[in-house]
């Protein structure tokens, strides 16, 4: 059970995907101008990652290594299509906002990357832990980035006004360059925090 927890929690801080691996950046930059769309895409990614990791780990012995990538892509693409159909049927407004970014989850290298690097070599229950952890880590990162961009960029959070109405917004953060700047600053912040933690641990 401790390894299950270990695999799960590494995705939350030690290997939190967009910040540590700098993987899957397209959606990170594109959908984080609002928290709600960031959270929505994150949930889609959790679902896809969970399904793909589970199935890849389940069938890892029966998939010939030479065609493993096409098989992985089939699994991932189908899971993404399920997410897309479900979102269109039950969360239409979110579906409209995310648009092309839902089908593009297929190309998110985080998902194929976890299949290749982890699920292919590990038992099913560990792969589930890895998928959940990485997915939740990804979602948290998107939400944090979305929070910073939405609050500073337009003074709202989940569409609700959180800053005084006199605040006119900082348009740069709502646009793509702002996404890069925010991401860079957050990366720096996380590196500072973890190097502090590291030196503290060594001092002990």
């Amino acid at each position: 059970m401790s390894t299950f927890w270990g695999e799960f929690s590494k995705g939350l801080w030690k290997e939190i995907p967009p910040f540590r691996f700098v993987l899957g950046l397209c959606p990170v930059l594109a959908v984080t101008s609002q928290v709600s769309s960031a959270l929505g895409l994150g949930c889609g990614v959790i679902f896809v990652l969970l399904i793909s990791n589970t199935l890849i780990a389940t069938f890892k012995n029966s998939i010939p290594p030479k065609i493993r990538v096409p098989v992985f892509i089939v699994i991932i693409a189908s899971a993404v299509t399920i997410v897309e159909l479900m979102m269109e049927a039950y969360f239409y407004t979110l579906y409209e906002v995310l648009g092309i970014w839902i089908p593009l989850i297929v190309c998110n290298c985080l998902i194929l990357g976890r299949g290749e690097a982890f699920a292919r070599k590990n038992p099913v229950y560990l792969s589930i832990a890895d998928g959940l952890g990485m997915g939740i880590g990804f979602t948290i990162s998107l939400t944090v980035l979305g929070t910073v961009r939405e609050i500073i960029g337009s003074g709202t959070w989940f569409g609700l006004n959180v800053l005084p109405s006199a605040y006119i917004g900082f348009d740069l953060l709502q646009n793509p360059p702002g996404a890069f700047i925010c991401l860079g600053l957050l990366l720096a912040l996380i590196n500072v925090i973890s190097s502090r933690l590291e030196s503290k641990r060594q001092a002990c």
């Binding site: 029966s62 998939i63 010939p64 030479k66 065609i67 096409p70 098989v71 089939v74 699994i75 189908s78 299509t81 399920i82 159909l85 479900m86 269109e88 049927a89 039950y90 239409y92 407004t93 409209e96």
Partner: protein, 196 residues
């Protein structure tokens, strides 16, 4: 690479794509109706609400919509149109569907709500258009222009040059809206037996 190995890979890949394809079609079938409902709800419902112009109803007209064949196109396929029926306590209070006319920038869709018991137009709203923003869109937002259709009997001449006033400065758009209303009203006389 032996033939055996190749066949094995072909088999595995076919198996995976086949199983997933089947599963996806199941999901598609399961969500189809809901997706259709959501699309109509999000695209048409605001115009529908406007066209009903405050008429009270207790059902969900989008859910209880009916597809009615209104004619056949050149290749003989049926042309269908969604008819939205508003009911209050099980009694039909209003029927709404789209009529089409051509404005300045192309075809315009006009949602027209009709009160079947009194045979009058209840209200109208524009659903789709490609008119010039700030010029052609003005009549659509003008209450006295859009409101002049409300309460008129179905026998009124709604088309351009009829009994309705044109919105000055946007003649083509006004004409398009009037054509749309006229189109819907004349359609109503042909399809009302199928609805009621």
């Amino acid at each position: 690479m032996s033939l055996r190995e190749i066949l094995h890979m072909v088999l595995i890949l076919t198996l995976f794509t086949g199983v997933w394809g089947g599963l996806l079609s199941l999901v598609k079938i399961a969500t189809e109706d809901q997706i259709e409902y959501q699309r109509i709800k999000n695209v048409k419902a605001p115009a529908l609400e406007k066209a009903f112009s405050g008429e009270e109803y207790t059902n969900d007209p989008v859910k209880e919509r009916r597809e009615i064949v209104v004619g056949r196109d050149q290749s003989g396929d049926p042309i269908k149109r969604n008819v939205f029926i508003a009911k209050k306590d099980g009694r039909i209070v209003s029927i709404a569907f789209e009529g089409y006319g051509s404005g300045y920038g192309g075809d315009m869709g006009v949602m027209v709500a009709i009160d079947p018991s009194e045979s009058v137009v209840e209200g109208i709203a524009v659903t789709t258009h490609s008119e010039t923003p700030g010029v052609g869109t003005d009549p659509m937002e003008d209450e006295s222009f859009m409101g002049q259709f409300s309460g008129k009997e179905l026998s009124t001449s709604f088309g351009p040059g009829g009994r309705m006033d044109t919105y000055s400065g946007a003649t083509y758009t006004s004409d398009g809206i009037m054509q749309g209303v006229q189109n819907a009203v004349s359609l109503y006389s042909r399809i009302k037996d199928k609805i009621l």
